[in-house]
């Protein structure tokens, strides 16, 4: 017995010791660093041919140098920015399967485009292009690439890198059908005139021409030459690809096409149309197994930072490029000041908040009302003057939060019923009680888009009298058990409201409670986030509570166009099938001049208000955060386009000396006086 216990005990402690040892050395074992290749070793691929066309001489060139700078000259370099990720990215690729993770933005922010948008005035400013011009028919945009522009491995950015991007994005090897489609239809060609002169050809004149043509390059020297492969495509796509590549359609394919077309026309009515045949064509492709090979490779970038090392599953570190080509350019000077950005994976928000309070993270978003008003109400570091809370109103396109009715639902087809429900939703009460009164009511579906947003339209407010009036009109005249209304057919006025985020439960509970008093029962329907999104896209909901992200301009097509109604897997969650709206959306999409587009946008909003397929709920026109005192920012705090103090604009800096000082004071619990603990900036509040 004793012997047995000794052996078991020994094995137990030995295994624990091994685990501890392994865990302690894990960091050094698993950290992977980016390889450094000297510029002399880089193989230069075969350059793309120069086009036959002539560089036009009668163009009007813009350089965007007349805008104000938006950075602070007092900024100093240095320090490390510590921030958190909720999950580790599945790969470091720009495209391909599973590349669209939350971390993508952090990498894409360091890939400059040809031009950029000024965060205050929304005008174009130069980035990789020094100058640009638009052809008279507005289908070609000419760019002069900045000769200083360099990749962070030292190679210059040249015209070939843009052509390579176009070809790579069209290739099947990246396994990204959306990109294949987009780069085949939205950009027709890129012409190379010399090393630093290119022209981007668009398929048709479009609004915001330069931005549509302002591509980002892909390092040709890094990914290497393209190869030709044979690949099978459906007939029509194969022909469109051949035309896109300026290739002749071979006679055998033409023959197949003729045969197919004649069989389609000769097919009798009621018969199944014959299946479209597939043909094999030659296309250009990136290297074999591109997706697999580049999962964890770190490509050269043109931006200020690039990944320097990472521990899979735990941490990614970005390092500032000390010799960044744009560091002294007008709009880039004094920006991107910290030396390192370290993303650590912290899966739980509460844990991240605790780490922030200990100073392990430099900033923390306090956007959610319960954080701002309750959890972060009293923070010891704030009272002692180590930390600051900031509330900054911004002015940028708002993501749209709304409640959509599924118009394919037999009962929700009735507009009276929808109006009754809308009038029974006490959104203001929800904002006042659950959200501490600090989100704002959205009036339309697109707010914060400047002149595009409707200036006078007001969303329907809670109105008990009207709600009852419309419920009666819809036939729900009697009150049944539990105070819920009922119609003559015995149908109960009860609908399922589907939503994704578990922390929205209390918001909907507040709505439910008020609606119940008017005889409307809202049944809460919430589940696993991904499952909920899938159910919404498949139109399995009765009422959906959801939100859309913001774009540069209002987007109506995806959400309200009739071509998406009654079909699965798209964003028309209300299944709105209205000819007038669809027609206006089509006009809006192809209209060129801003006034027409603005007018159409207003008209669409008015028509949507009338139809009531959905109702806008609230907007959050500000950011709120806590940040440590060593994080410095310009006197104007932030631009109206900022997401937070620390974001892609990189206007902040870290005062390393102050950081040391505060950390020393933290151990002694010494109070720093005379620093405002809370800043509320309303400079950009309200309509512009």
């Amino acid at each position: 017995m004793k012997k047995y216990l000794t052996v078991v005990g020994f094995l137990f402690f030995a295994s624990i010791l091994t685990i501890i040892l392994l865990a302690a050395r894990k960091n050094t074992f698993l950290r992977e660093t980016r390889e450094n290749i000297s510029i002399a070793d880089i193989k230069r691929p075969k350059p793309f041919p120069i086009c036959d066309e002539q560089w036009p001489t009668d163009l009007v060139w813009h350089n965007g140098m007349d805008q104000d700078i938006f950075s602070d000259p007092k900024a100093t370099k240095g320090g490390t920015w510590n921030t958190s990720l909720t999950s580790f990215p599945p790969n470091f690729r720009q495209v391909g399967p599973d590349s669209n993770s939350g971390f993508r933005g952090a990498m894409d922010d360091n890939d400059l485009g040809l031009v950029d948008v000024h965060p205050v005035t929304q005008k174009l400013i130069p980035a990789l292009a020094k100058e640009w011009a638009i052809s008279k028919d507005r289908t070609i945009v000419y760019f002069k690439i900045d000769p200083d522009a360099k990749w962070d491995d030292g190679m210059p950015v040249i015209a070939d890198d843009f052509i390579f991007r176009l070809k790579a994005m069209r290739s099947p090897g990246i396994v990204a059908p959306w990109y294949n489609q987009y780069y085949s239809t939205m950009v027709s060609d890129i012409l190379k005139f010399d090393k630093h002169k290119i022209a981007v050809k668009l398929p048709s004149p479009m609004a915001d021409t330069v931005l549509k043509a302002a591509m980002r390059p892909l390092p040709y020297h890094y990914y290497g030459e393209l190869r030709e492969i044979r690949k099978k495509y459906p007939l029509s796509r194969a022909i469109s690809y051949l035309k896109r590549d300026n290739k002749e359609v071979p006679p055998n394919i033409l023959k197949i096409k003729d045969e197919y077309e004649s069989s389609v026309t000769s097919a009798k009515e009621g018969e199944k149309t014959p299946k479209e045949p597939s043909v094999e064509i030659t296309v250009e492709d990136v290297e074999a197994n591109w997706v697999k090979n580049h999962n964890w490779k770190i490509q050269p970038r043109t931006g200020p930072y690039n990944i320097s090392s990472f521990i899979k599953g735990k941490e990614v570190t970005f390092e500032r490029n000390k010799n960044w080509w744009a560091k002294d350019k007008k709009y880039y000077k004094n920006r991107y000041n910290v030396d390192q950005i370290r993303y650590t994976v912290i899966r739980d928000t509460n844990l991240a908040f605790e780490k922030f309070k200990l100073g392990q993270l430099d900033q923390f978003a306090l956007l959610l009302p319960n954080y701002w008003h309750s959890k972060a109400k009293y923070l010891d570091p704030v009272d002692r003057g180590y930390m600051q809370k900031l509330w900054f109103y911004t002015q940028k396109p708002e993501g749209s939060s709304q409640i959509s009715f599924n118009l394919d639902h037999p009962r929700l087809k009735d507009k009276n019923l929808r109006l009754g429900i809308i009038y029974a939703l006490n959104i203001q009460n929800m904002l006042d009680t659950v959200l501490y009164g600090d989100y704002e009511r959205s009036e339309t579906f697109h707010e914060g888009y400047g002149e595009y947003s409707h200036p006078t339209l007001k969303a329907r407010r809670f109105n008990p009298q009207k709600a009852i009036e419309y419920f009666n009109k819809a036939g729900y005249t009697k009150i049944a058990r539990d105070g819920v209304r009922i119609n003559d057919k015995g149908e109960i006025l009860s609908f399922k409201i589907l939503y994704a985020a578990p922390f929205h439960t209390q918001r909907i509970l507040a709505l439910q409670n008020e609606a119940k008093k008017l005889g409307l029962h809202l049944e809460l329907d919430n589940f696993d986030t991904t499952a909920v999104f899938k159910a919404m896209l498949n139109k399995e909901h009765e009422i959906a509570w959801h939100g859309w992200g913001a774009g540069l301009r209002p987007q109506y097509r995806g959400q309200f166009h009739q071509s998406f109604a009654h079909k699965k897997q798209n964003n028309n969650l209300s299944n709105l099938d209205d000819d007038e709206v669809s027609q206006m959306i089509d006009e809006y999409r192809f209209a060129l001049d801003t006034p027409t587009r603005v007018e159409l946008a207003h008209k669409i909003e008015e028509r949507l208000f009338e139809l009531a397929p959905a109702v806008p709920t609230y907007k959050v026109p500000y950011f709120r955060q806590g940040l440590w005192r060593w994080v410095k920012y310009p006197p104007f705090i932030a631009t109206p386009s900022n997401d937070m103090i620390m974001d892609a604009y990189g206007l902040f800096w870290i005062d390393v000396e102050l950081q040391k000082e505060i950390r020393a004071k933290m151990t002694k619990k010494e109070i720093i006086y005379d620093i405002p603990p809370l800043i509320k900036n309303t400079r950009y509040k309200g309509a512009p």
Binding site: N370, S374, Y378, T433, I479, G483, P502, E540
Partner: protein, 400 residues
């Protein structure tokens, strides 16, 4: 009663801890079963113009009936206030012990708080202004004063929003949650659902487990082998994934995850536990001579299983029951905590724990639910332990 059972009951009742636990447990269960009487926003009795109404068991009574203007159901707390204003009418109503249902959201009257906020702010601002005018005052003092002012204002301001701390005056004995619902009412209604879930699950699991387990043990041969493999496969299915998948399938067919769906899923993946025990017990019992004797007397197989073998293994079933109940309660609670359980507007202990951990700055939420949970699980396990000892009085011992 069977003298063996009598003896068992005697042994059980001698176990003071188990007896006390059983009494408290039964009391709690009865209270929660009668939640509508104890925790309700509907009045128990309303006496209006010479007529008696019993709203808590009646259908919704429109407020018009009681002379209010609203067409929808009456708000009895407000009705009480109007009645009290006019005692000469002779109308009265009686509210339950706690006048909140689990789903009733308490509205906070912000006006007096706003008034107080303003007063406090004026009070401090005056002082600060005086100090600022005074050239001798030091900066630190002003700063300190500002901090105290902010804290005082913050304290007042937090009374304007839920969650509110426990208070006797407001009749929120355990406070409110972040939506404004009473915690105690939620605990009671949530307990009722949890215990109903556990007992229904126990019954169905036992029925299936006994039927299949006995058949496995009694019939043996290929049936036993086949069922063993089936059970092994089923018990290795990851539970959470199945729940997510089944919920997705249910939704695409127009159903939501409700109480019964959850019971169904739990049963379909949880009936295996009992079969193993039943199989072993039946295997052991079927070789006993009384089974042979019963067969010799002409009893059929089903009769032997249900009339002869089953009564002999019933002690096993009874001993397992309390632990199975506490297991089901934990299961439902953790599923709710993860957000894959009951619909979100159901009262549930799991979502209360979630609320509590999310609002750790309001410690009364998490304290209440954790205490309730620990208490109930302790009671059930104490009863279970008592039963086990009563059925099997052997002392733990081992050979040298």
């Amino acid at each position: 009663m069977n003298p063996i059972n009598q003896q068992r009951w005697q042994r059980f009742s001698k176990n003071k801890m188990a007896m006390l636990s059983l009494k408290i447990f039964l009391a709690l269960t009865i209270i929660s079963l009668l939640s509508e009487v104890f925790f309700n926003d509907k009045a128990l009795v309303v006496y209006y113009k010479g007529e008696m109404h019993f709203p808590f068991i009646q259908n919704a009574i429109p407020a018009k009936t009681f002379g209010l203007e609203n067409e929808s159901e009456a708000n009895y707390l407000e009705l009480q206030k109007t009645f009290r204003k006019k005692p000469e009418d002779g109308n009265w109503l009686m509210m339950p012990f706690i006048p909140y249902h689990y789903r009733s959201i308490t509205k906070i009257d912000t006006e007096p708080i706003d008034l107080q906020l303003k007063k406090t702010e004026d009070f401090y601002s005056k002082q600060i202004k005086e100090l600022q005018i005074d050239p001798n005052a030091n900066k630190e003092k002003i700063y300190q004063l500002k901090l105290t002012r902010n804290q005082a204002l913050g304290k007042l301001d937090s009374q304007k929003y839920h969650p509110l701390p426990p208070s006797l005056a407001r009749k929120h004995f355990l406070g409110t949650d972040s939506t404004g619902r009473d915690i105690l009412a939620q605990l009671s209604y949530g307990y009722r659902i949890a215990i109903a879930f556990a007992i229904i699950l126990l019954i169905i699991n036992y029925i299936i487990g006994i039927a299949i387990g006995c058949a496995m043990g009694y019939l043996g041969s290929w049936y036993d082998l086949l069922m063993q493999r089936v059970i092994e496969v089923l018990s290795n299915i990851p539970f959470l994934y199945i729940i997510i998948i089944i919920a997705a399938i249910l939704r695409s067919h127009g159903f939501t995850m409700g109480f019964w769906a959850l019971v169904g899923i739990y049963v379909s993946l949880g009936w295996m536990g009992m079969t193993w025990y039943m199989r072993t017990a039946t295997l052991k019992e079927k070789s006993r001579e009384y089974v042979l004797a019963a067969r010799a007397a002409g009893a059929s197989d089903t009769r032997i299983v249900f009339k002869h073998i089953l009564p002999n293994v019933v002690s096993l079933l009874v001993t397992f029951a309390p632990f199975s109940i506490s297991g089901s309660i934990i299961g439902l609670t953790s599923l709710d905590f993860l957000g894959y359980g009951l619909p979100k507007d159901y009262p549930s202990w799991g979502s209360l724990i979630k609320l509590g951990t999310d609002n750790i700055q309001a410690p009364w939420i998490i304290t209440s639910i954790v205490c309730a949970m620990v208490l109930v699980l302790f009671l059930i396990n104490a009863v279970g332990e008592g039963i086990r000892q009563a059925f099997d009085p052997k002392k733990i011992s081992h050979f040298e």
